[in-house]
């Protein structure tokens, strides 16, 4: 079976989330298996979110800000 990891990305609204939007505007294609959670600042990323996600079966976490 093809490996299809589930990835959650926590992105800062002001930079990385904007970057993800820009990737869209530029029609840059990337795999579909990332789910973005928008946060007001990378400082908002509580370590508990990450633990929670991993416990829920998420395979990888991307934080960016």
């Amino acid at each position: 079976m093809e490996r299809d990891p589930k990835i959650v990305a926590f992105l800062c609204n002001w930079c990385s989330y904007a970057g993800a939007d820009l990737a869209g505007v530029g029609r840059m294609q990337y795999p579909t298996n990332v789910r973005v959670v928008r946060v007001p600042c990378s400082g908002r990323i509580n370590p508990l979110f990450i633990i929670n996600a991993l416990r829920n079966g998420v395979d990888g976490i991307l934080t960016s800000g």
């Binding site: 959650v8 820009l22 505007v25 530029g26 579909t32 973005v36 959670v37 007001p40 908002r44 979110f49």
Partner: protein, 1009 residues
Amino acid sequence: MSTTKPDKIGAVLVVGAGIAGIQASLDLADSGYYVYLVDKSPAIGGTMPMLDKTFPTNDCSMCILSPKLVECGRHLNVETLNCAELLDLDGEPGNFKATIKKNARLVDPDKCTGCGSCAEECPVKVDDEFDQKLGKRKAIYKLYAQAYPNAYAIDKSRCLKVKKPKACGKCLEVCQANAINHDMQDETIEVEVGSVILSPGFEKFDASKLDYYGYGKVPNVLTSLEFERILSASGPFGGHLQRPSDGKEPKKVAWLQCVGSRNCREDHGYCSSVCCMYAIKEAVIAMEHCEYPLDTSIFYMDMRTYGKDFEKYYEKAKNEQGVNFVRSRIFDVKPKQDDSGDLIIRYAAEDGNVKTEEFDMVVLSVGLEPPKEFTEMAGKLGLELNNFNFCEPEQLTGVGTSRPGVYVAGAFSGPRDIPETVMQASAAAANSGAILADARGTRTKEKQFPPEKDVAGEVIRTGVFICHCGINIGSVVNVPGVVEYAKTLPGVAYADEKLYACSQDTSAQITEAIKEYNLNRVVVASCSPRTHEPMFQETLREAGINPNLFEMANIRDQCSWVHMNEPEKATEKAKDLVKMAVSKAGLLEPIQGSELEMNHDVLVIGGGVSGMTNAINLAEQGYKVSLVEKEDKLGGTANRIRYGMRGEDVQAFVGDLVQQVSDNPSITVFTGAGIESAAGFVGNFTTQLTNGQEIQHGVTVIATGADEYKPSEYLYGQNDRVMTLLELEGAFDDGDAKVAEAKNFAFIQCVGSRDSKRPYCSRICCTKSIKLALKVKDKHPDANVYILYRDIRTYSFFEEMYREARNKGVIFIRYSEDNKPLVEPGDNTVKVTATDHVLGVPVVIEADVLGLAAAIVAPAESNSKLSQFYKVPLNQEGFFLEAHLKLRPVDFGTDGVFMAGLAHGPKNLEENISQAKAAAGRACTVLANETISVEGKCASVNKRLCAGCGACESVCPAQAISIDEEEKVAVVNEALCKGCGACASSCRPGALNVKGCTNEQIVAMINAL
């Protein structure tokens, strides 16, 4: 009949929507004035969106600009008129009539959703000017990806249907928003305004005029702006560094400075001020872009890194990042005689020898020129321009023009970088505000909303609206499938699909659905919340629902657009994103903003030129000011300055300022007083002065100035022939015998600047020394004047003085940091020995007078106290550190505190005045509010869980949280909280949360997966 003048008009015209125009518009609109923002291009932004990164912070230009674009675009009191130009201006300050031509855009920006289907169909490819013609766009186009308005425009010169009405029309077929109209006509309108701000920006020098650089003929010779586009991720090569001619990755790149600057033959005898820094930045960023070692060299005459933190940037590039700096004069750039596309640069090195070197790419650091249309229009507008057709500000006004009521900001006033441009923009806003204060709030609009429905305790009834975005989402994601899926989610009472969720009729439909289905939460799945959330939230408010009961799922920018070839997986992802949004929506609660009382008085600390200028402007705008000065008289350092950089009579100017301050009933002056202590926050400060006076104020302005360095080198203090520049100027002006009888004058530059202890340039000393040298030469043409320098930094129009000095025989001798001049006592002289860089042998000057260009230093102790009192930071050199070096040059991260003048860093008088006005302009955006509005998306504390550990206090970047010593719990100051949530993430007991983004809400989103 009374003869009162007609009422002033509380509106301002801003011409040119680059960063200057945007900043001026936002400041004015936030201060109670209506703004018409006119720009000739189809989108606002000017030059800044073209830049990849910005110096000296290396921030992404677009990332820092786009929040301002959105804010400006959405502001109720900024009316942007794109594709428009100013034709004429009649009237006087307070009452102008401006005639504006609106060129037909052929696309209605109110209807256009920016989906881009039209451009995909358009058959006409055109060179993209935004990408400096390195890429292509279509005849129907959006200026750049993040443009505001987010709407297309038709290039009339290239559209087939414009030429032949029966031809083409493919765009019409695909535009489902019916936004395109090829019959749209140009329109001329008249607007009434009280003042005008000109911020049309600059043009770049046409490098093809200088044959020897080969630009336009030889491949791989580029302009710096072309290079910016190559570096940009949204540029023609997606940020991949390659040669446009053959796609080869360059291994060795050269930058050639002063192309079209410091060039009298081209009538460009001025320095373009920004090129040294942008070249270093481009070199550094280019190296970052490459996975291989990139060889970079900058060929220059003088390295002019004179701005705040610039010198450190230069030193780092040179010493750590490996950029080569070659002091030289370029002869020519020629292609190598093979088919490699490589180039050969021939140049004179510093020792005079002619050398050649090969590169595979050459970047020309092109200079700045004034905008041509204003050269032609100046007469009509009644504007006087300088020799080079720049609208140089009237002396010691910062932003004034020859026409009263018309102000200038940005590069049109002279070549300058972004922070100075932003300062001038805020200063021009302050000047406009000062003449229109009576009319504040008379032209502004305010939106009225119905009362909010109380949804507390109601069963969750979520409405979900899924957008097709024309075909942008619908052609990839199975929208009806997602709608059916949404209907199955818990709490969803209604789900529907929309062709364009953002169109006006859909907004009405959403309002209807909220009422009909009694919805109390709304989810829209469409594009990015960054651009559209405020608009949908307004729809909720119109329907009587709290705007925070809203959530978006981004299924376009982050789904359909990036998974175009995987429709099934994209649909699955869209379903997940909708489910996450619905899960969060179920936990959303109404958030109420609150209003805190606000004191509208201002405390200005420092009674120098900056402090006085600031106080006068704020008083003119109608605010009460307390002006505190530590010395017994007002004037600060300017009391010691005799001649301004442009020959102004500084003493008369300072005298006039002092008189204005004393005569103004709104200004209370406290001299001989310092700050004892201070407490509070924006709108509610209390400051104790050392004289026992207590002052209540809503805004604080720090304009405490700086000191002249007292040199410990070069016999200063041991020999009375050795003086600092200010001392020498005073002695010269007073006719001191030592100076009056002197035959040989020497100046040493960079005394206490640009060394390891003070790694910054003091900015004004080169110009000041040259100014004094010219004074000496005027009075004693036979006197010998020697200036010992490291780089001559006569930026902008000061370059003319440098040239004049050379023409008049002032001798310039360069020394290097590791071989400083030797100063010894002589026989009634001081003996100065320096090694000439051309001859390579020591030169001995028997100087009768030695002027030391002493550094400008921050008063460390007093600055550090103020820093603690008002919770504002200092930089390593002890100057106050602004909220953002580029875009917030007079603000602090702490709300309600601003700065101006030398407290911020070395600057000349004109620049200090501009900054002082800017601080007033920025302060007015706060003072114009009746109360302090707290948005409500703040941190909140659950006292029962709080252990009072203080972790939150230590991480809060806004200084908004503190531990209540009695209750031992954290307390949030909502007036300061920015809602970043760093506190909530570091709170171990989980006592802290952020309204609108709670731990529970985010966990619910994660659990939805």
